[in-house]
């Protein structure tokens, strides 16, 4: 019965792998950064399903850390990289 959880985790991993195309294609810098946020949410879901499927409840703590730190990266990006770069390059490219 635990195989079905691993199957769901596999589907979510495929969703992550498909979402990575946006990093390569995204026109602005924020589009690329949003994929990291998608990784955070999908990674939490994968970890929860694996915790059920592999019967290892330590993974819930890793999910907690995941959810915190993916948002931290996005916030650092907005505050330090994207905002207030002297108004040059409205698309946010670090050109």
């Amino acid at each position: 019965m635990s195989r079905i959880y691993i199957f769901f985790a596999l589907i979510l991993l495929a969703a992550i792998a498909a979402g990575m195309v946006r990093i390569l294609r995204g026109p602005t810098a924020a589009d690329r950064m949003m994929v990291a946020q998608l990784f955070g949410t999908c990674g939490v879901a994968i970890l929860l399903l694996l915790a059920k499927g592999l019967d290892n409840m330590v993974l819930l703590d890793i999910a907690l850390v995941f959810s915190l730190l993916a948002a931290l990266a996005t916030m650092t990006f907005v505050r330090r990289t994207w905002q207030g770069n002297d108004g040059e390059g409205a698309d946010g490219y670090p050109s």
Partner: protein, 100 residues
């Protein structure tokens, strides 16, 4: 017990299309605000459904509390970062997409 297990499985299966539609929206939508909308809302609803299903299947109340704590943290974090990105995009005068 069996009914709870089946109901939990139903909610988990219900949650998966939200994740898939979030990814499809991220890939297909035309500008940054719509992509942000697809990503944040759809994924959080999907995660909530999966967590609800797993909580129905778990055997102790401590586990349920931990699961909902994770969901609360993800909700706070993703709404805060979504708001930051959208506000910064507005300040940078990125035009929202409109039907041509």
């Amino acid at each position: 017990m069996d009914i709870l297990h089946n109901a939990g499985m139903f909610f988990i299966i219900l949650g998966l299309p939200f994740f898939l539609s979030g990814t499809v929206g991220l890939l297909r939508f035309p500008d940054i605000f719509t992509r942000l909308h697809a990503l944040t809302k759809a994924d959080n609803v999907g995660l909530g459904l999966i967590i609800f299903g797993l909580a129905l299947q778990s055997d102790s109340w401590l586990m349920v509390a931990r699961l909902f704590l994770i969901w609360l943290l993800v909700l706070i974090a993703s709404s805060a970062s979504c708001h930051l990105v959208a506000r910064c995009a507005m300040q940078k005068k990125i035009q929202p997409w409109s039907r041509p």
